[in-house]
Symmetry: C2
Subunit: 110 residues, 2 copies
Amino acid sequence: MVTDPTAQLRRGVAEQCVLGLLRERARYGWELAETLGEHGLVASIGTLYPLLARLRSRGLVEAFERESETGPTRKYYRLTDAGRRELAAFRGQWAEFSRTVDDLLGREPE
Amino acid sequence: MVTDPTAQLRRGVAEQCVLGLLRERARYGWELAETLGEHGLVASIGTLYPLLARLRSRGLVEAFERESETGPTRKYYRLTDAGRRELAAFRGQWAEFSRTVDDLLGREPE
DNA sequence: AGACACTATCTTGTGACGCAAGATAGCGGA
DNA sequence: TCCGCTATCTTGCGTCACAAGATAGTGTCT
């Protein structure tokens, strides 16, 4: 098994990106996994459910069920006020962190 | 023990920032730890030595010893050609990754 | 009916790696 | 001698993404 080294980058970030995706509307797990997968932020849907459980136990999201017209019942997640605050705080941390990394990596792209 | 959640962000990144710091000149472990510590990229010097050993075993850096005028012998590290290529490749991956995260977090800072 | 594909959730075991703490040792000064 | 600073390396732990698989509801085709 070759274990993609970029997987390490996603640690702690995938979680916050879920909060980001929920800031405008509630979404269900499968939907989040597809979106994050397209952006390369989770490699496997198995990653997502424990992550959502963690967010929930920290009170950053809350869940409710709604039936689908075409398949099994879906579990939707929405941001709580605490989740919104967490997201805002993380945006600041991320901005500083990514700027620092940009500096340390150096700018020359060639 | 409270385990700083931002520690997760550093995973996989600290390593590459070492390569970045070595791109202009060789540095020794203690020096790297101080610099990275100031930038908040390693919380403890204990993190650094296993990291350097990994970079070395992957052939991305090479080491040589040089005596200090004021203390114990230092072990310096310099980039190899492979390390330089790795750094260049990672810069591209990082640019894409951080842009994606910026998007998913959303832009409104308030 | 039965078989299959698709959607959907959740669980389990593994591995990578940053963290805190500490061991070891050379150096200089009080 | 003792202490503090520099310097390297090791150990045990916790977190979390990954792959793989279990479970089950729905729809379609035959």
